[in-house]
């Protein structure tokens, strides 16, 4: 009887060890690149590759606007179908702001996953640069 109890007590920690309880406070193993892992551990800005990519996209879009303005100055103004006189910078702004609301509306009304609103946002972008 005593041996049974002793053995089961020994099995307890062994099981816990196997379940990973001993890993607390130890450095995690390298598990390769992940879009959602912290990039600079312990840095207060809390960058992840995913959010960095988001900002790279925004700044790249602004840079493209700058390049286009340099090559073809004037901003390509026109009267869009919303009744607004827009330049290409305005169209980018309307696209991005509209997309933010498309994603928020989908999240609030439907939820994840976000493939449908992504498609809608791209379609809205195409519409903005084509007609607005």
């Amino acid at each position: 009887m005593r041996w049974t109890i002793a053995l089961s007590l020994m099995a307890g920690p062994a099981w816990a060890q196997q379940a990973g309880w001993g890993n607390v406070g130890k450095a995690q193993e390298e598990k390769g690149f992940s879009w959602t892992d912290p990039m600079f551990s312990g840095f207060w800005m809390a960058w992840t590759p995913a959010t960095l990519a988001f900002f790279v996209f925004i700044f790249a879009a602004i840079a493209v606007m700058g390049l286009l303005e340099w090559r073809r100055p004037g901003g390509a103004p026109r009267d869009g179908i919303l009744g607004l006189a827009t330049t290409r910078g305005d169209r980018l702004f309307i696209w991005l702001l509209g997309s933010a609301y498309i994603f928020l509306a989908w999240l609030g009304l439907v939820g994840t996953p976000l493939w449908v609103p992504l498609g809608l946002a791209i379609a809205w972008g195409a519409f903005c640069f084509w007609k607005v």
């Binding site: 992840t48 959010t51 939820g111």
Partner: protein, 286 residues
């Protein structure tokens, strides 16, 4: 080909750097926080868009947003007409002009937290001048620490007291820039006071009023200090505006993720309303 000197852009550089540090870096950080969970110590765990989903569906957020919209709506429909009326009543020349201008500018010079504290002491039912007078002298049951309606009336009156001057000063600037010739022409045509206002003064004030409404919208939509000092968001949650709720979430509960998601939604609402308003108001201008 004409050479255009673009060197002036370099003078914008200091401002760009300043804005980068006081607006862009914090905004990027908020975006990073909004998709992660933290328990402090700068350790972050990915949470995806879950916080946005939670915030968009939370009763508490809807209620705070509703109160915020109501507050801003009331502020605008009171302050803008009142400001224009006071500006119209102000003298255009003579001794009283500087006196009126200084009197009008006084509330704008008082720091927000002082305004809140002043109105708190002023309206407390047992010791405040207004609170005591209303309750004990006039016999009106007024207690902004207990009744939500009284608290709402108090924060609206406080904001009107503090910020109508801004509308007045802007509208006044618009009014005095109208040349006398317009008024003389109106007089010759025998125009009534209302026609003068409707067809001369109002169109000429459109630009400054656009700015005034935009500033009042953004300021009242982001109001925090005055209401926080005056009522602390109470009684209950009745004056917990969006910014007060946000600070409670971020600093009171230290829920940085939900607070970040909330502030981004808040930011997007402000951005959309300001953009729509500005676009509509300046649509017919070349």
């Amino acid at each position: 080909m004409k050479t255009v000197n673009q060197r002036a852009w370099f003078f914008v550089l200091p401002v760009l750097l300043l804005v980068a540090f006081n607006a862009l870096v914090p905004l990027m950080t908020v975006v990073n926080y909004s998709v992660q969970e933290t328990f402090g110590d700068n350790l972050f765990f990915w949470h995806g868009v879950g916080w946005f989903e939670d915030v968009l569906r939370s009763e508490r957020f809807h209620a705070a947003l509703g109160r915020q919209l109501l507050f801003t709506f009331l502020i605008l429909i009171i302050e803008v007409p009142l400001g224009v009326a006071i500006a119209l009543a102000m003298p255009r020349k003579g001794f009283w002009v500087p006196v009126c201008l200084v009197l009008m500018a006084l509330p704008l010079l008082i720091p927000w937290n002082v305004v809140g504290a002043m109105w708190n002491i002023f309206t407390l039912p047992d010791i405040g001048l207004a609170g005591y007078t209303l309750n004990e002298v006039l016999g009106i049951n007024y207690n902004m620490t207990q009744s939500p309606l009284a608290a709402w009336i108090t924060i609206i009156v406080m904001d009107v007291w503090h910020w109508t001057s801004l509308v007045v000063l802007l509208a006044y600037a618009g009014l005095i820039s109208i040349p006398d010739a317009y008024y003389q022409a109106a007089k010759i045509d025998g125009a009534s006071n209302w026609s003068v206002f409707r067809y001369i003064q109002l169109p000429k004030m459109k630009r400054v009023l656009t700015i005034a409404i935009l500033l009042r919208f953004m300021d009242s939509f982001n109001i925090y200090t005055e209401v926080f000092v005056l009522t602390g968001g109470g009684p209950g949650n009745s004056t917990t505006l969006l910014s007060i709720d946000l600070v409670k979430t971020a600093l009171g509960q230290f829920d940085l993720g939900p607070a970040a998601a909330m502030s981004l939604i808040y930011f997007l609402v402000t951005l959309l309303v300001s953009w729509v308003f500005y676009t509509v108001m300046t649509k017919d201008e070349p």
